[in-house]
Protein backbone atom coordinates (compact mmCIF):
# COMPACT_ATOMS: atom_id res chain seq x y z
CA UNK A 1 0.00 0.00 0.00
CA UNK A 2 1.27 3.45 -0.82
CA UNK A 3 1.49 6.34 1.58
CA UNK A 4 -1.46 8.17 -0.02
CA UNK A 5 -3.80 5.38 0.92
CA UNK A 6 -2.67 5.40 4.53
CA UNK A 7 -3.27 9.08 4.99
CA UNK A 8 -6.68 9.13 3.34
CA UNK A 9 -9.54 9.07 5.84
CA UNK A 10 -13.31 8.99 5.72
CA UNK A 11 -14.70 12.47 6.24
CA UNK A 12 -18.14 13.96 6.44
CA UNK A 13 -19.05 16.53 3.80
CA UNK A 14 -20.79 19.78 4.84
CA UNK A 15 -24.36 19.21 5.95
CA UNK A 16 -25.78 20.79 2.82
CA UNK A 17 -24.32 17.94 0.76
CA UNK A 18 -25.81 15.14 2.86
CA UNK A 19 -28.34 12.78 1.43
CA UNK A 20 -30.64 10.27 3.06
CA UNK A 21 -29.89 6.55 2.78
CA UNK A 22 -32.57 4.77 0.82
CA UNK A 23 -33.43 7.75 -1.34
CA UNK A 24 -31.98 6.01 -4.37
CA UNK A 25 -34.17 2.98 -3.70
CA UNK A 26 -37.28 5.17 -3.65
CA UNK A 27 -36.22 6.84 -6.90
CA UNK A 28 -35.81 3.41 -8.49
CA UNK A 29 -39.28 2.43 -7.32
CA UNK A 30 -40.72 5.60 -8.84
CA UNK A 31 -39.06 4.81 -12.18
CA UNK A 32 -40.45 1.29 -12.37
CA UNK A 33 -43.83 2.42 -11.07
CA UNK A 34 -44.00 5.00 -13.86
CA UNK A 35 -43.06 2.31 -16.36
CA UNK A 36 -45.80 0.08 -15.09
CA UNK A 37 -48.60 2.67 -15.02
CA UNK A 38 -47.70 4.43 -18.26
CA UNK A 39 -47.50 1.15 -20.17
CA UNK A 40 -51.29 1.03 -19.94
CA UNK A 41 -52.00 4.28 -21.75
CA UNK A 42 -48.88 5.52 -23.54
CA UNK A 43 -48.39 4.11 -27.02
CA UNK A 44 -44.65 4.83 -27.17
CA UNK A 45 -44.07 2.75 -24.02
CA UNK A 46 -45.27 -0.46 -25.59
CA UNK A 47 -43.04 -1.19 -28.55
CA UNK A 48 -43.96 -4.85 -28.82
CA UNK A 49 -45.21 -5.93 -32.26
CA UNK A 50 -47.51 -8.95 -31.97
CA UNK A 51 -45.71 -10.78 -34.76
CA UNK A 52 -47.95 -13.31 -36.47
CA UNK A 53 -50.89 -10.90 -36.37
CA UNK A 54 -49.02 -7.70 -37.16
CA UNK A 55 -45.66 -6.97 -38.72
CA UNK A 56 -43.17 -4.19 -38.33
CA UNK A 57 -42.73 -2.18 -41.57
CA UNK A 58 -39.56 -3.20 -43.39
CA UNK A 59 -37.02 -0.62 -44.50
CA UNK A 60 -36.55 0.02 -48.24
CA UNK A 61 -32.92 -0.92 -47.66
CA UNK A 62 -33.89 -4.38 -46.50
CA UNK A 63 -33.09 -6.95 -49.19
CA UNK A 64 -33.56 -10.66 -49.19
CA UNK A 65 -33.24 -12.98 -52.23
CA UNK A 66 -33.90 -11.75 -55.78
CA UNK A 67 -37.20 -11.72 -57.66
CA UNK A 68 -38.08 -11.21 -61.34
CA UNK A 69 -40.18 -8.23 -62.39
CA UNK A 70 -42.98 -8.57 -64.95
CA UNK A 71 -45.02 -5.84 -66.60
CA UNK A 72 -48.71 -6.05 -67.49
CA UNK A 73 -50.74 -8.94 -66.14
CA UNK A 74 -49.19 -12.09 -67.49
CA UNK A 75 -46.57 -13.21 -65.01
CA UNK A 76 -44.59 -15.32 -67.49
CA UNK A 77 -45.06 -13.58 -70.84
CA UNK A 78 -44.54 -10.18 -69.28
CA UNK A 79 -41.18 -10.93 -67.71
CA UNK A 80 -38.61 -8.24 -68.42
CA UNK A 81 -35.91 -10.90 -68.38
CA UNK A 82 -34.51 -11.70 -71.82
CA UNK A 83 -32.44 -14.66 -70.60
CA UNK A 84 -29.17 -12.90 -71.43
CA UNK A 85 -27.45 -14.86 -68.60
CA UNK A 86 -25.42 -11.87 -67.35
CA UNK A 87 -26.66 -12.42 -63.80
CA UNK A 88 -25.97 -16.14 -64.09
CA UNK A 89 -22.37 -15.38 -64.97
CA UNK A 90 -21.92 -12.65 -62.36
CA UNK A 91 -23.49 -14.52 -59.47
CA UNK A 92 -20.60 -15.26 -57.03
CA UNK A 93 -22.03 -18.45 -55.48
CA UNK A 94 -23.55 -19.42 -58.86
CA UNK A 95 -27.04 -20.01 -57.60
CA UNK A 96 -28.82 -18.89 -60.80
CA UNK A 97 -29.60 -21.30 -63.63
CA UNK A 98 -31.07 -19.97 -66.89
CA UNK A 99 -32.13 -21.70 -70.12
CA UNK A 100 -33.14 -19.55 -73.06
CA UNK A 101 -36.43 -20.36 -74.74
CA UNK A 102 -36.24 -21.01 -78.51
CA UNK A 103 -38.89 -21.68 -81.14
CA UNK A 104 -38.88 -24.80 -83.31
CA UNK A 105 -36.45 -23.23 -85.78
CA UNK A 106 -33.92 -22.58 -83.02
CA UNK A 107 -34.55 -18.86 -83.02
CA UNK A 108 -34.30 -17.09 -79.67
CA UNK A 109 -37.60 -15.92 -78.18
CA UNK A 110 -35.75 -13.63 -75.78
CA UNK A 111 -37.27 -15.05 -72.62
CA UNK A 112 -36.21 -17.73 -70.15
CA UNK A 113 -37.55 -21.24 -70.43
CA UNK A 114 -36.00 -22.04 -67.04
CA UNK A 115 -35.02 -19.44 -64.45
CA UNK A 116 -34.08 -21.09 -61.14
CA UNK A 117 -32.52 -19.55 -58.03
CA UNK A 118 -31.29 -21.86 -55.31
CA UNK A 119 -31.92 -19.70 -52.23
CA UNK A 120 -30.07 -22.15 -50.02
CA UNK A 121 -26.95 -21.07 -51.91
CA UNK A 122 -27.80 -17.40 -52.54
CA UNK A 123 -25.86 -15.04 -50.26
CA UNK A 124 -28.01 -11.92 -50.81
CA UNK A 125 -25.18 -9.89 -52.33
CA UNK A 126 -27.48 -8.16 -54.84
CA UNK A 127 -24.97 -8.29 -57.69
CA UNK A 128 -27.57 -9.83 -60.03
CA UNK A 129 -29.83 -6.83 -59.49
CA UNK A 130 -26.92 -4.46 -60.04
CA UNK A 131 -25.68 -5.92 -63.30
CA UNK A 132 -29.05 -6.50 -64.99
CA UNK A 133 -29.30 -4.07 -67.93
CA UNK A 134 -33.01 -4.83 -68.41
CA UNK A 135 -34.26 -3.86 -64.89
CA UNK A 136 -35.59 -7.39 -64.69
CA UNK A 137 -34.23 -8.65 -61.36
CA UNK A 138 -34.35 -6.94 -57.97
CA UNK A 139 -33.86 -7.89 -54.35
CA UNK A 140 -37.03 -8.93 -52.52
CA UNK A 141 -38.27 -8.01 -49.04
CA UNK A 142 -39.87 -11.34 -48.19
CA UNK A 143 -38.55 -13.06 -45.06
CA UNK A 144 -41.02 -15.81 -44.16
CA UNK A 145 -39.42 -18.51 -46.28
CA UNK A 146 -39.24 -21.48 -43.98
CA UNK A 147 -40.13 -24.77 -45.62
CA UNK A 148 -40.21 -28.42 -44.67
CA UNK A 149 -38.23 -29.49 -47.76
CA UNK A 150 -34.72 -28.18 -47.93
CA UNK A 151 -34.14 -29.21 -51.56
CA UNK A 152 -37.25 -28.53 -53.63
CA UNK A 153 -38.61 -26.02 -51.14
CA UNK A 154 -35.53 -23.81 -51.41
CA UNK A 155 -35.21 -23.99 -55.22
CA UNK A 156 -37.31 -21.11 -56.57
CA UNK A 157 -38.59 -21.48 -60.15
CA UNK A 158 -39.59 -18.59 -62.39
CA UNK A 159 -43.27 -18.95 -61.44
CA UNK A 160 -42.39 -18.26 -57.82
CA UNK A 161 -39.80 -15.60 -58.66
CA UNK A 162 -42.08 -13.57 -60.95
CA UNK A 163 -43.58 -10.58 -59.19
CA UNK A 164 -45.42 -7.63 -60.70
CA UNK A 165 -43.96 -4.17 -61.22
CA UNK A 166 -46.66 -2.92 -58.84
CA UNK A 167 -45.19 -5.13 -56.11
CA UNK A 168 -41.78 -3.63 -56.76
CA UNK A 169 -43.27 -0.14 -56.56
CA UNK A 170 -44.84 -0.98 -53.23
CA UNK A 171 -41.70 -2.60 -51.85
CA UNK A 172 -39.19 0.07 -52.90
CA UNK A 173 -41.12 3.12 -54.14
CA UNK A 174 -38.10 5.34 -54.85
CA UNK A 175 -36.12 2.78 -56.82
CA UNK A 176 -39.19 1.61 -58.73
CA UNK A 177 -40.17 5.18 -59.67
CA UNK A 178 -36.69 5.90 -60.96
CA UNK A 179 -36.65 2.67 -62.99
CA UNK A 180 -40.11 3.35 -64.31
CA UNK A 181 -39.19 6.87 -65.43
CA UNK A 182 -36.04 5.61 -67.14
CA UNK A 183 -37.90 2.82 -68.91
CA UNK A 184 -40.60 5.21 -70.06
CA UNK A 185 -38.01 7.61 -71.45
CA UNK A 186 -36.27 4.77 -73.27
CA UNK A 187 -39.59 3.56 -74.60
CA UNK A 188 -40.43 7.01 -75.91
CA UNK A 189 -36.98 7.36 -77.41
CA UNK A 190 -37.41 4.01 -79.08
CA UNK A 191 -40.85 4.97 -80.35
CA UNK A 192 -39.54 8.30 -81.60
CA UNK A 193 -36.62 6.58 -83.29
CA UNK A 194 -38.97 4.10 -84.87
CA UNK A 195 -41.28 6.86 -86.01
CA UNK A 196 -38.31 8.75 -87.45
CA UNK A 197 -37.13 5.58 -89.15
CA UNK A 198 -40.55 4.94 -90.54
CA UNK A 199 -40.85 8.53 -91.66
CA UNK A 200 -37.43 8.31 -93.25
CA UNK A 201 -38.31 5.03 -94.94
CA UNK A 202 -41.52 6.55 -96.17
CA UNK A 203 -39.65 9.58 -97.50
CA UNK A 204 -37.07 7.36 -99.10
CA UNK A 205 -39.75 5.27 -100.69
CA UNK A 206 -41.56 8.33 -101.92
CA UNK A 207 -38.31 9.68 -103.35
CA UNK A 208 -37.62 6.34 -104.96
CA UNK A 209 -41.10 6.19 -106.37
CA UNK A 210 -40.70 9.70 -107.64
CA UNK A 211 -37.37 8.91 -109.23
CA UNK A 212 -38.79 5.76 -110.75
CA UNK A 213 -41.72 7.68 -112.08
CA UNK A 214 -39.37 10.27 -113.48
CA UNK A 215 -37.21 7.69 -115.17
CA UNK A 216 -40.36 6.11 -116.52
CA UNK A 217 -41.50 9.42 -117.79
CA UNK A 218 -38.06 10.00 -119.29
CA UNK A 219 -38.21 6.62 -120.90
CA UNK A 220 -41.63 7.32 -122.26
CA UNK A 221 -40.54 10.67 -123.54
CA UNK A 222 -37.46 9.17 -124.97
Amino acid sequence: MSMEDQTSIKRLPPLSQWSLPGLGLLKGLVVTGKNMVQSFYREDRMTTVQYPEERAPISPNFRNFPFLVYDNDDSLAGLRCVACSICEKECPPQCIYIVLERDENGKSLKRPKIFDIDVSVCMNCGICAEVCPFDAIYMDGEYELSTDNRFEGLLFHRERLAKSAAYHAKLRPEQAAEVEARRKAEEEKKLAAQAAKEAKAKADKEAKDKAAAETEQKGESA
Binding site: K10, L12, V31, S39
Partner: protein
Amino acid sequence: MSLLATTPFLPMKLEFLPRLPQMLVEVIFHRLGAPEWLVSIAGFIVAASTVVGVFMGGFALLSLVERKTLARIQNRIGPNRAGWFGILQPVADGIKMLTKEDIVPAKAEWLLHLAAPILIVIPSILALGVIPYGREWTPVPLELGLLFFFSVGALTELSVFMAGWASGSKFPMLGAMRAISQMVSYELPLIISALGVVMVSGTLSLPVIVDKQAGFHLGFIPAWNLFTPWGLVAGLVFYIAAIAEANRCPFDLPEGESEIVAGHMTEYSGFKYALFFMGEYLGLFAISGLGITLFLGGWQAPLPGLGFVPSWIWFFAKLAVVIMSFLWIRGTFPRVRIDQLMRFAWLCLIPMALLTLPAAAIWHFAGRGLLGWVTTVPLLLIPWVIITVIYNRRLSPSTRIYRFADS
Protein backbone atom coordinates in the same frame (compact mmCIF):
# COMPACT_ATOMS: atom_id res chain seq x y z
CA MET B 1 -76.02 -22.73 11.74
CA SER B 2 -78.47 -20.81 13.90
CA LEU B 3 -76.12 -17.83 13.75
CA LEU B 4 -76.23 -17.99 9.97
CA ALA B 5 -80.02 -18.02 9.91
CA THR B 6 -80.55 -15.15 12.34
CA THR B 7 -77.98 -12.70 10.95
CA PRO B 8 -80.09 -10.05 9.23
CA PHE B 9 -77.89 -8.48 6.61
CA LEU B 10 -76.58 -10.15 3.42
CA PRO B 11 -72.92 -9.00 3.77
CA MET B 12 -73.04 -10.31 7.31
CA LYS B 13 -74.03 -13.69 5.92
CA LEU B 14 -71.15 -13.48 3.45
CA GLU B 15 -68.96 -13.24 6.52
CA PHE B 16 -69.56 -16.96 7.01
CA LEU B 17 -69.15 -17.93 3.36
CA PRO B 18 -65.61 -19.38 3.68
CA ARG B 19 -66.72 -21.42 6.68
CA LEU B 20 -69.83 -22.74 4.95
CA PRO B 21 -68.27 -26.07 3.81
CA GLN B 22 -66.97 -26.74 7.30
CA MET B 23 -70.34 -25.92 8.89
CA LEU B 24 -72.22 -28.09 6.39
CA VAL B 25 -69.96 -31.08 7.00
CA GLU B 26 -70.26 -30.66 10.76
CA VAL B 27 -74.04 -30.46 10.57
CA ILE B 28 -74.26 -33.49 8.29
CA PHE B 29 -71.96 -35.54 10.55
CA HIS B 30 -73.97 -34.45 13.56
CA ARG B 31 -77.25 -35.50 11.97
CA LEU B 32 -75.73 -38.86 11.05
CA GLY B 33 -75.01 -39.40 14.72
CA ALA B 34 -71.22 -39.35 14.53
CA PRO B 35 -69.30 -38.96 17.80
CA GLU B 36 -68.15 -35.46 18.75
CA TRP B 37 -64.42 -36.05 18.06
CA LEU B 38 -65.20 -37.34 14.56
CA VAL B 39 -67.33 -34.25 13.85
CA SER B 40 -64.54 -31.88 14.83
CA ILE B 41 -61.89 -33.83 12.90
CA ALA B 42 -64.04 -33.82 9.77
CA GLY B 43 -64.62 -30.10 10.27
CA PHE B 44 -60.89 -29.44 10.58
CA ILE B 45 -60.15 -31.45 7.45
CA VAL B 46 -62.70 -29.48 5.45
CA ALA B 47 -61.44 -26.17 6.88
CA ALA B 48 -57.87 -27.08 5.95
CA SER B 49 -58.98 -28.11 2.47
CA THR B 50 -60.67 -24.73 2.05
CA VAL B 51 -57.46 -22.91 2.92
CA VAL B 52 -55.35 -25.13 0.68
CA GLY B 53 -57.83 -24.73 -2.17
CA VAL B 54 -57.95 -20.95 -1.82
CA PHE B 55 -54.18 -20.60 -1.75
CA MET B 56 -53.59 -23.07 -4.59
CA GLY B 57 -55.88 -20.86 -6.65
CA GLY B 58 -53.96 -17.86 -5.37
CA PHE B 59 -50.69 -19.53 -6.39
CA ALA B 60 -51.99 -20.12 -9.92
CA LEU B 61 -53.26 -16.55 -10.15
CA LEU B 62 -50.07 -15.06 -8.70
CA SER B 63 -47.84 -16.94 -11.14
CA LEU B 64 -49.72 -15.18 -13.95
CA VAL B 65 -50.06 -11.79 -12.23
CA GLU B 66 -46.35 -11.80 -11.40
CA ARG B 67 -45.35 -12.38 -15.00
CA LYS B 68 -47.83 -9.78 -16.22
CA THR B 69 -46.69 -7.18 -13.69
CA LEU B 70 -43.00 -7.73 -14.35
CA ALA B 71 -43.72 -7.47 -18.07
CA ARG B 72 -45.51 -4.15 -17.60
CA ILE B 73 -42.67 -2.81 -15.48
CA GLN B 74 -40.34 -3.63 -18.37
CA ASN B 75 -42.80 -2.23 -20.94
CA ARG B 76 -43.64 -5.64 -22.32
CA ILE B 77 -47.04 -7.29 -22.66
CA GLY B 78 -46.45 -10.57 -20.89
CA PRO B 79 -48.19 -13.88 -21.50
CA ASN B 80 -51.29 -13.28 -23.64
CA ARG B 81 -51.60 -16.37 -25.83
CA ALA B 82 -53.23 -19.01 -23.63
CA GLY B 83 -56.82 -17.93 -23.22
CA TRP B 84 -58.23 -14.43 -22.78
CA PHE B 85 -55.35 -12.14 -21.67
CA GLY B 86 -53.33 -15.28 -20.90
CA ILE B 87 -55.73 -16.36 -18.18
CA LEU B 88 -55.10 -20.04 -18.99
CA GLN B 89 -51.32 -19.67 -18.73
CA PRO B 90 -51.14 -21.28 -15.24
CA VAL B 91 -53.09 -24.27 -16.61
CA ALA B 92 -50.70 -24.56 -19.53
CA ASP B 93 -47.71 -24.26 -17.19
CA GLY B 94 -49.17 -26.92 -14.92
CA ILE B 95 -49.74 -29.36 -17.77
CA LYS B 96 -46.23 -28.72 -19.04
CA MET B 97 -44.72 -29.34 -15.61
CA LEU B 98 -46.76 -32.51 -15.08
CA THR B 99 -45.79 -34.06 -18.38
CA LYS B 100 -42.08 -33.38 -18.10
CA GLU B 101 -39.58 -36.12 -17.46
CA ASP B 102 -38.69 -36.63 -13.81
CA ILE B 103 -34.90 -36.74 -13.69
CA VAL B 104 -33.04 -38.07 -10.66
CA PRO B 105 -29.25 -37.69 -10.91
CA ALA B 106 -27.21 -40.87 -10.58
CA LYS B 107 -25.32 -39.51 -7.57
CA ALA B 108 -28.44 -38.27 -5.80
CA GLU B 109 -29.75 -39.70 -2.54
CA TRP B 110 -33.02 -40.68 -4.14
CA LEU B 111 -35.14 -40.83 -0.98
CA LEU B 112 -34.09 -37.38 0.28
CA HIS B 113 -34.26 -36.10 -3.27
CA LEU B 114 -37.88 -37.20 -3.40
CA ALA B 115 -38.75 -36.04 0.11
CA ALA B 116 -37.38 -32.50 -0.12
CA PRO B 117 -40.00 -31.01 -2.53
CA ILE B 118 -42.80 -32.63 -0.54
CA LEU B 119 -41.45 -31.40 2.78
CA ILE B 120 -41.08 -27.86 1.48
CA VAL B 121 -44.80 -27.54 0.75
CA ILE B 122 -46.06 -28.98 4.04
CA PRO B 123 -44.69 -26.30 6.44
CA SER B 124 -46.15 -23.54 4.30
CA ILE B 125 -49.59 -25.15 4.36
CA LEU B 126 -49.32 -25.75 8.12
CA ALA B 127 -48.34 -22.14 8.65
CA LEU B 128 -51.31 -20.96 6.59
CA GLY B 129 -53.61 -22.85 8.95
CA VAL B 130 -53.19 -20.59 11.98
CA ILE B 131 -53.72 -17.21 10.33
CA PRO B 132 -57.04 -15.44 11.05
CA TYR B 133 -58.51 -14.67 7.63
CA GLY B 134 -61.75 -13.19 8.92
CA ARG B 135 -63.72 -12.38 12.01
CA GLU B 136 -65.21 -15.87 11.96
CA TRP B 137 -62.58 -17.63 9.90
CA THR B 138 -59.45 -18.91 11.62
CA PRO B 139 -58.95 -22.47 10.36
CA VAL B 140 -57.04 -23.59 13.48
CA PRO B 141 -57.37 -21.04 16.29
CA LEU B 142 -54.27 -22.01 18.29
CA GLU B 143 -53.42 -20.32 21.58
CA LEU B 144 -49.73 -20.23 20.58
CA GLY B 145 -50.34 -19.49 16.92
CA LEU B 146 -47.34 -17.21 16.47
CA LEU B 147 -44.94 -19.71 18.05
CA PHE B 148 -46.43 -22.46 15.89
CA PHE B 149 -45.98 -20.34 12.79
CA PHE B 150 -42.29 -19.68 13.40
CA SER B 151 -41.46 -23.20 14.47
CA VAL B 152 -43.16 -24.64 11.41
CA GLY B 153 -41.57 -22.02 9.20
CA ALA B 154 -38.11 -23.11 10.36
CA LEU B 155 -38.77 -26.51 8.75
CA THR B 156 -38.44 -24.89 5.32
CA GLU B 157 -34.70 -24.48 5.87
CA LEU B 158 -34.38 -28.17 6.56
CA SER B 159 -36.05 -29.17 3.31
CA VAL B 160 -34.01 -26.63 1.34
CA PHE B 161 -30.81 -28.08 2.72
CA MET B 162 -32.16 -31.57 2.15
CA ALA B 163 -32.69 -30.72 -1.53
CA GLY B 164 -29.20 -29.25 -1.81
CA TRP B 165 -27.49 -32.16 -0.12
CA ALA B 166 -29.47 -34.94 -1.77
CA SER B 167 -28.92 -33.67 -5.30
CA GLY B 168 -25.25 -34.68 -5.14
CA SER B 169 -24.06 -31.79 -7.24
CA LYS B 170 -22.18 -28.57 -6.57
CA PHE B 171 -24.70 -25.90 -7.54
CA PRO B 172 -27.51 -27.24 -5.34
CA MET B 173 -25.03 -27.55 -2.47
CA LEU B 174 -23.84 -23.95 -2.87
CA GLY B 175 -27.43 -22.76 -3.16
CA ALA B 176 -28.42 -24.66 -0.04
CA MET B 177 -25.48 -23.22 1.92
CA ARG B 178 -26.50 -19.76 0.89
CA ALA B 179 -30.13 -20.48 1.74
CA ILE B 180 -29.25 -21.71 5.22
CA SER B 181 -27.02 -18.76 6.06
CA GLN B 182 -29.59 -16.33 4.70
CA MET B 183 -32.63 -17.88 6.35
CA VAL B 184 -30.99 -18.31 9.74
CA SER B 185 -29.75 -14.72 9.66
CA TYR B 186 -33.07 -13.27 8.63
CA GLU B 187 -35.16 -15.38 10.94
CA LEU B 188 -33.67 -13.40 13.86
CA PRO B 189 -34.90 -9.94 12.85
CA LEU B 190 -38.16 -11.52 11.71
CA ILE B 191 -38.89 -13.02 15.12
CA ILE B 192 -37.51 -10.10 17.13
CA SER B 193 -39.64 -7.60 15.21
CA ALA B 194 -42.69 -9.76 15.88
CA LEU B 195 -41.86 -9.83 19.60
CA GLY B 196 -42.84 -6.19 20.07
CA VAL B 197 -46.37 -7.03 18.95
CA VAL B 198 -46.47 -9.93 21.40
CA MET B 199 -45.29 -7.65 24.24
CA VAL B 200 -47.91 -4.99 23.56
CA SER B 201 -50.75 -7.42 22.82
CA GLY B 202 -49.80 -9.71 25.69
CA THR B 203 -50.64 -12.86 23.72
CA LEU B 204 -49.30 -15.29 21.15
CA SER B 205 -52.74 -16.04 19.75
CA LEU B 206 -53.10 -14.50 16.31
CA PRO B 207 -56.90 -13.92 16.42
CA VAL B 208 -56.48 -12.05 19.72
CA ILE B 209 -53.64 -9.94 18.27
CA VAL B 210 -56.03 -8.88 15.50
CA ASP B 211 -58.78 -8.13 18.00
CA LYS B 212 -56.42 -5.87 19.93
CA GLN B 213 -55.91 -3.75 16.82
CA ALA B 214 -59.60 -2.80 16.52
CA GLY B 215 -60.76 0.80 16.65
CA PHE B 216 -59.48 4.10 15.30
CA HIS B 217 -57.29 6.95 16.55
CA LEU B 218 -58.72 10.45 16.05
CA GLY B 219 -61.69 8.83 14.35
CA PHE B 220 -59.96 7.81 11.12
CA ILE B 221 -56.45 6.43 11.74
CA PRO B 222 -56.83 2.68 12.25
CA ALA B 223 -55.35 1.44 15.53
CA TRP B 224 -53.04 -0.98 13.75
CA ASN B 225 -49.65 -1.77 15.16
CA LEU B 226 -48.05 -0.21 12.08
CA PHE B 227 -49.21 3.25 13.19
CA THR B 228 -47.13 3.28 16.36
CA PRO B 229 -43.50 4.40 16.50
CA TRP B 230 -42.14 0.96 17.34
CA GLY B 231 -44.61 -0.73 14.98
CA LEU B 232 -43.43 1.37 12.06
CA VAL B 233 -39.81 0.30 12.55
CA ALA B 234 -40.69 -3.28 13.43
CA GLY B 235 -43.04 -3.48 10.44
CA LEU B 236 -40.29 -2.27 8.09
CA VAL B 237 -37.79 -4.74 9.54
CA PHE B 238 -40.39 -7.50 9.32
CA TYR B 239 -41.13 -6.59 5.71
CA ILE B 240 -37.47 -6.71 4.65
CA ALA B 241 -36.82 -9.90 6.59
CA ALA B 242 -39.96 -11.46 5.11
CA ILE B 243 -38.67 -10.79 1.59
CA ALA B 244 -35.43 -12.54 2.52
CA GLU B 245 -37.27 -15.42 4.22
CA ALA B 246 -39.41 -15.95 1.14
CA ASN B 247 -36.27 -15.97 -1.06
CA ARG B 248 -37.61 -13.13 -3.16
CA CYS B 249 -35.67 -10.60 -5.19
CA PRO B 250 -33.48 -8.70 -4.20
CA PHE B 251 -32.60 -11.41 -1.66
CA ASP B 252 -33.03 -14.40 -3.98
CA LEU B 253 -29.43 -15.51 -3.64
CA PRO B 254 -30.20 -19.20 -2.95
CA GLU B 255 -31.46 -19.52 -6.51
CA GLY B 256 -29.33 -16.82 -8.13
CA GLU B 257 -29.69 -18.11 -11.67
CA SER B 258 -26.83 -16.05 -13.07
CA GLU B 259 -24.38 -17.59 -10.60
CA ILE B 260 -25.52 -21.04 -9.47
CA VAL B 261 -28.14 -22.05 -12.10
CA ALA B 262 -31.16 -22.46 -9.80
CA GLY B 263 -29.56 -23.14 -6.43
CA HIS B 264 -31.08 -26.04 -4.56
CA MET B 265 -33.58 -26.61 -7.41
CA THR B 266 -30.94 -27.19 -10.07
CA GLU B 267 -31.28 -30.98 -10.19
CA TYR B 268 -35.07 -30.99 -10.08
CA SER B 269 -37.41 -31.19 -13.02
CA GLY B 270 -41.06 -31.62 -13.78
CA PHE B 271 -43.51 -31.77 -10.95
CA LYS B 272 -40.89 -31.74 -8.19
CA TYR B 273 -39.67 -28.42 -9.52
CA ALA B 274 -43.25 -27.17 -9.57
CA LEU B 275 -43.60 -28.24 -5.94
CA PHE B 276 -40.62 -26.08 -4.99
CA PHE B 277 -42.31 -23.13 -6.64
CA MET B 278 -45.56 -23.95 -4.94
CA GLY B 279 -43.82 -24.09 -1.56
CA GLU B 280 -42.13 -20.79 -2.24
CA TYR B 281 -45.35 -19.03 -3.17
CA LEU B 282 -47.35 -20.57 -0.32
CA GLY B 283 -44.58 -19.45 2.03
CA LEU B 284 -44.88 -15.98 0.56
CA PHE B 285 -48.62 -16.00 1.21
CA ALA B 286 -48.08 -17.25 4.75
CA ILE B 287 -45.43 -14.70 5.69
CA SER B 288 -47.47 -11.87 4.11
CA GLY B 289 -50.52 -13.08 6.00
CA LEU B 290 -48.57 -13.06 9.25
CA GLY B 291 -47.27 -9.56 8.55
CA ILE B 292 -50.82 -8.37 7.88
CA THR B 293 -52.00 -10.01 11.10
CA LEU B 294 -49.22 -8.51 13.20
CA PHE B 295 -48.93 -5.00 11.78
CA LEU B 296 -51.75 -4.22 9.35
CA GLY B 297 -54.69 -5.09 11.57
CA GLY B 298 -55.47 -8.47 10.04
CA TRP B 299 -59.04 -8.46 8.79
CA GLN B 300 -59.91 -5.06 10.33
CA ALA B 301 -61.39 -2.48 7.94
CA PRO B 302 -59.00 0.36 7.06
CA LEU B 303 -61.57 3.14 7.57
CA PRO B 304 -64.51 3.54 9.98
CA GLY B 305 -67.89 2.79 8.44
CA LEU B 306 -66.55 0.01 6.21
CA GLY B 307 -67.22 -2.69 8.79
CA PHE B 308 -70.20 -4.04 6.83
CA VAL B 309 -67.91 -5.52 4.17
CA PRO B 310 -67.07 -9.14 5.06
CA SER B 311 -63.84 -9.10 7.03
CA TRP B 312 -62.05 -11.77 4.95
CA ILE B 313 -62.38 -9.47 1.93
CA TRP B 314 -60.29 -6.89 3.80
CA PHE B 315 -57.71 -9.53 4.62
CA PHE B 316 -57.35 -10.62 1.01
CA ALA B 317 -57.32 -7.01 -0.21
CA LYS B 318 -54.41 -6.29 2.12
CA LEU B 319 -52.73 -9.50 1.00
CA ALA B 320 -53.05 -8.41 -2.63
CA VAL B 321 -51.50 -5.01 -1.83
CA VAL B 322 -48.58 -6.57 0.04
CA ILE B 323 -47.94 -9.13 -2.70
CA MET B 324 -48.07 -6.40 -5.34
CA SER B 325 -45.46 -4.46 -3.39
CA PHE B 326 -43.25 -7.58 -3.46
CA LEU B 327 -43.67 -7.73 -7.24
CA TRP B 328 -42.84 -4.04 -7.54
CA ILE B 329 -39.65 -4.56 -5.54
CA ARG B 330 -38.75 -7.59 -7.61
CA GLY B 331 -39.14 -5.57 -10.78
CA THR B 332 -36.95 -2.76 -9.45
CA PHE B 333 -33.93 -3.90 -7.48
CA PRO B 334 -30.98 -6.03 -8.58
CA ARG B 335 -29.82 -8.94 -6.48
CA VAL B 336 -27.51 -8.09 -3.55
CA ARG B 337 -24.21 -9.79 -2.91
CA ILE B 338 -23.91 -12.44 -0.21
CA ASP B 339 -21.62 -10.34 2.04
CA GLN B 340 -23.91 -7.32 1.66
CA LEU B 341 -26.85 -9.54 2.55
CA MET B 342 -25.26 -10.87 5.74
CA ARG B 343 -23.92 -7.49 6.83
CA PHE B 344 -27.31 -5.92 6.26
CA ALA B 345 -28.97 -8.51 8.47
CA TRP B 346 -26.49 -8.46 11.34
CA LEU B 347 -25.43 -4.82 11.42
CA CYS B 348 -28.62 -3.13 10.32
CA LEU B 349 -31.79 -5.16 10.79
CA ILE B 350 -31.04 -6.94 14.07
CA PRO B 351 -30.01 -3.80 16.01
CA MET B 352 -33.04 -2.01 14.66
CA ALA B 353 -35.31 -4.91 15.59
CA LEU B 354 -33.76 -5.11 19.06
CA LEU B 355 -34.42 -1.41 19.66
CA THR B 356 -38.13 -1.90 18.99
CA LEU B 357 -38.38 -4.07 22.12
CA PRO B 358 -37.53 -1.33 24.67
CA ALA B 359 -39.49 1.09 22.50
CA ALA B 360 -42.56 -1.14 22.71
CA ALA B 361 -42.13 -1.43 26.46
CA ILE B 362 -41.79 2.34 26.90
CA TRP B 363 -44.76 2.86 24.60
CA HIS B 364 -46.85 0.53 26.75
CA PHE B 365 -45.89 2.11 30.07
CA ALA B 366 -46.13 5.68 28.72
CA GLY B 367 -49.81 5.19 28.12
CA ARG B 368 -49.75 4.40 24.39
CA GLY B 369 -50.43 8.04 23.49
CA LEU B 370 -48.62 11.30 22.84
CA LEU B 371 -46.16 10.66 25.65
CA GLY B 372 -45.34 7.33 24.08
CA TRP B 373 -44.54 8.99 20.77
CA VAL B 374 -42.34 11.66 22.37
CA THR B 375 -40.32 9.12 24.35
CA THR B 376 -39.91 6.32 21.78
CA VAL B 377 -39.23 8.27 18.58
CA PRO B 378 -35.79 9.56 19.72
CA LEU B 379 -34.83 6.05 20.77
CA LEU B 380 -35.82 4.59 17.43
CA LEU B 381 -34.09 7.36 15.51
CA ILE B 382 -30.66 6.42 16.92
CA PRO B 383 -29.86 3.70 14.32
CA TRP B 384 -31.22 5.89 11.53
CA VAL B 385 -28.88 8.74 12.52
CA ILE B 386 -25.91 6.36 12.70
CA ILE B 387 -26.76 4.86 9.32
CA THR B 388 -27.15 8.31 7.77
CA VAL B 389 -23.77 9.41 9.10
CA ILE B 390 -22.04 6.26 7.83
CA TYR B 391 -23.81 6.56 4.51
CA ASN B 392 -22.63 10.14 4.03
CA ARG B 393 -18.97 9.59 4.84
CA ARG B 394 -16.72 10.22 1.89
CA LEU B 395 -13.29 8.84 1.35
CA SER B 396 -10.96 11.81 0.94
CA PRO B 397 -7.19 12.05 1.10
CA SER B 398 -6.07 14.44 3.84
CA THR B 399 -2.86 15.74 2.30
CA ARG B 400 -1.42 14.57 -0.94
CA ILE B 401 2.23 13.60 -0.70
CA TYR B 402 4.18 13.56 -3.93
CA ARG B 403 7.08 11.37 -2.93
CA PHE B 404 8.96 11.43 -6.19
CA ALA B 405 8.01 14.78 -7.70
CA ASP B 406 9.15 16.90 -4.73
CA SER B 407 12.69 15.61 -4.39
